[in-house]
Amino acid sequence: MSDRNVTKANGVKRFFRIFFSRGWVTKICFGIIVLFVLIAVFAPVLTPWTPYEQNLRNILAGPGKEHLLGCDNIGRDTLTRLLYGARISLVTGLLSSIWAAVVGTTIGLIAGYVGGWVNSAIMRITDAMIAIPPIIFTMVLSTMVTGNLLGISIVIGVSIIPSYIRMVNGLVMSLRENDYVTAADLIGQKQLVIMFRHLLPNCLASLIVTFTMNVGTAIMLESTLSYLGVGIIPPTPAWGVMVSEGYKYLFNQPLVAILPGICIMLVVIAFNIVGDALRDALDPRLRGKL
């Protein structure tokens, strides 16, 4: 193994050591994310039912051998819908965060590196977007899409783009004053090369942390929109939809509303805590146990 590879391997080992040294809470949260990812991937093999299959004779049936967590208000298997719901939540969370990261990072890089009026214009627009509460912003935008997964992911992504712009812009403004950037400029490297080869890699650590935390935010937003009836539309088994539909039966069959609520809570908390741990692992100044 070359010295470079050894150094890299040591770096990864060190990263994981610091990451997991944050205590059992981080480990559990990391486990929760892995578990939900596995559930999302293997949902069809984990249950004999489909999320849309209804048996009107099982309406609001309690937990039993056939339906482990009972059935919902039109006789669909609650466990199956929870498992498939993980797909919707994770896909929406990841899609919206990825597209927001790509767009937000690019805009933030350009604004920060070019500076001047371009920076001022972009940042004022960003400030305006940040000033609007994300839920209001997404509710208005969601009326323009038809409640499909892609449309809702784009809408949620738009609402979290400003967080990337602001973060990357701040970093680039400080990084561009470094000697290696000046040197690259002096030897005639193109601006795009400087931005994407020299500046972007130095933003990656912060980007990873922001991305992880935004996945949680995006899942929360998707669930809220679906609960309010402007997100994923029924019968798609989104957790927010399930809470909305089950809420009415809170007193008579509470599992139907409570279980998806618990899933939302677990995933959002897990992403936030893992994001927090990542930040600490990537920044030696922030270390401690949760």
């Binding site: 039109i74 009836g229 019968p235 809420y247 009415k248």
Partner: protein
């Protein structure tokens, strides 16, 4: 120091908890503090009111309660939930479900449906029609006054009929043939018809809430909207938009002084919050329609359940048979009818017939208006697929089902969505808010899952709605010559021909053309607190006897 602060906090918390625990005795109004404030403003005090717990004074005209064995007591406040603000409190415009809960307490109609669904004189002494002379003669009862003290006389009735004809929400359905209204003496009004309308009495009983002309003219329509004045047992004292409507008893009510001091209609948007409020005593009534789960749960907890005597709502798939697309083909509409398992939907969602049933039309088998020749379409997926293939839609198509927000409608539409998916039809559900629903009544895309009010029976609804120019489905129903001819002939005929013709129209609409497909017929179920006595009854069809309601003292 810290201990002292802690003790103070504990003491404060104890006082708060004690105050919360005493909520019931404070005459709660249901919408939290705001609701209580409103109730107090309206003169409500629950058991704290001076009148509460006392028997009616001798000489007061008090009606006997129709239910319960205990001695009725005067006073107290009853809180009834509505899911949203009404769009209007103007008597001539009220129509939607929330307005249907409020209106019978404030307003009354000239005629009222009896337990068989036939209109009978209510504010009138008599109602007689003369088909030869094309007139209806209305004689007003003595001693009825509006809540502003003005009398209900022939002039007031004429004013109401004229005003409704000009401005009423259902004038196009029920007042088409009203030519003029004439006052012949202090108590008698003659309505001259341009053409005979044998169902005019159904229209008068369903809509046209009688309003005080003096109040409308002095306040203007907008002012009257905030402070409506009718002849009902309770008068509005305050409409707190977004919170509720507060009323107090009208002491000079013509059927006797009401027992209750106040009836408040408080906004609780969901069934779950309504149920919670009922169980802690913030509400006294819950109106359920098509919710067997909640009804059964509350019944098991000792609440009184009353089903209306006549069906309240016919949940119907109304096809847009005119717009370009698959639904213009009757075979497609038949296929959809075959693919929907109405029997199973009703059995599972309506407690095996306890709260409603399946039917092939807008009437139940025990009704005189039921047409047994309408056999409907039994659940048969293979037949549905074959019909779709025959119509050239073997690969399916996309379809929108529009429905008014509501738990029952949402559940049924989701079931239908899955059932239609089996034959390749991909359904998009469009949930419409109550306030916007009226915008969809003239024309809709695809199918409208409509809660057709059945308080006035099938004949009245078919005659009023299934003709060209009617507000409902004017641009979506076929209005074929045969059915329209039968309806037009029916309304100018004697009762026998009317019945025969309208049953014929029903067969064309529901069976032959499949313009309408009834999924479920539900009965209004009133869940009332064990402390509430009297016959709250049905909320639709003005069945409640408001002045007879009384509540046990706290």
């Amino acid at each position: 120091m810290k201990k002292g602060v802690a003790m103070l906090l504990i003491a404060a918390m104890s006082v708060s908890l004690a105050a919360c625990g005493d909520k019931g005795s404070a005459g709660s109004a249901g919408a939290g503090d705001a609701g209580n404030a409103g109730a107090e403003d309206a003169g409500s005090a629950g058991s704290g009111d001076e009148d509460a717990g006392t028997t009616p004074e001798a000489g007061d005209t008090e009606a006997a309660p129709s239910g319960g064995s205990a001695e009725p007591v005067a006073g107290g406040t009853v809180n009834i939930p509505i899911t949203d603000d009404p769009t209007t409190l103007q008597g001539w415009m009220m129509r939607n479900s929330n307005e249907g809960v409020i209106s019978p307490a404030i307003y009354e109609t000239l005629l009222k449906y009896d337990e068989t669904g036939k209109p009978q004189p209510y504010l009138l002494e008599s109602f007689t029609g003369d088909p030869e002379a094309l007139t209806y003669t209305l004689v007003v009862k003595d001693g009825i006054t509006f809540q502003d003290g003005t009398p209900l006389d022939a002039e007031a009735v004429k004013w109401n009929l004229d005003y409704y004809k000009e401005n009423g929400v259902l004038t196009g359905s029920y007042f088409n043939y009203v030519d003029s209204v004439e006052v012949t003496d202090e108590k008698t009004v003659v309505v001259h018809m341009s053409s005979w309308d044998a169902l005019f009495d159904y229209g008068l009983a369903r809509t046209c809430f009688v309003c005080s002309p003096t109040a409308v003219e002095s306040l203007g329509p907008d002012g009257f909207n905030e402070a409506p004045v009718g002849t009902g047992a309770f008068k509005v004292t305050k409409w707190s938009h977004g919170e509720g409507i507060y009323t107090e008893r009208y002491d000079d009510y013509w059927q006797g002084k009401p027992y209750l001091d106040n009836v408040n209609f408080v906004i609780y948007s969901s069934t779950a919050t309504q149920q919670a409020a009922l169980e802690v005593g913030d509400l006294d009534v819950m109106n359920l329609s098509g919710d067997a789960v909640t009804a059964d749960a509350l019944k098991a907890k000792g609440y009184n359940l009353t089903n209306a005597a006549i069906p309240s709502t016919g949940y119907t798939l109304c096809f847009n048979s005119l717009a370009d697309g698959p639904l213009t083909d009757v075979r497609v509409r038949q296929a959809i009818a075959y693919a929907v398992d109405a029997e199973e939907i009703c059995n599972s969602l309506l407690g095996d017939g306890a709260y409603g049933e399946a039917s092939t039309q807008w009437a139940v088998t025990t009704s005189a208006e039921y047409n047994s020749e309408v056999t409907g379409y039994g659940y048969d997926v293979e037949k549905a697929k074959a019909l779709l293939a025959e119509a050239g839609y073997g690969d399916g198509f996309e379809l929108t089902i529009n429905f008014q927000v509501g738990d029952f409608a949402k559940s049924v539409c989701q079931i239908i969505q899955a059932e239609l998916q089996q034959i390749g039809i991909t359904v998009t559900l469009n949930q419409i808010e109550v306030a916007n629903y009226a915008d969809y009544l003239g024309e809709w895309d695809g199918i409208l899952f409509h809660p057709m009010g059945l308080g006035n029976g099938q004949f009245s609804q078919v005659a009023a709605n299934m003709i060209p120019g009617a507000r409902f489905g004017g641009a979506t129903f076929l209005h074929d010559e045969e059915s329209v001819g039968l309806i037009n002939e029916a309304i100018v005929s004697d009762q026998e021909t009317l019945s025969q013709n309208l049953k014929g129209a029903v067969k064309i609409l529901f069976q032959d053309n499949v313009e309408l497909y009834t999924v479920a017929i539900t009965y209004s179920t009133a869940v009332t607190s064990p402390k509430l006595h009297g016959d709250y009854g049905s909320i639709q069809g003005n069945g409640a006897t408001w002045h007879e309601l009384w509540k046990e003292a706290e």
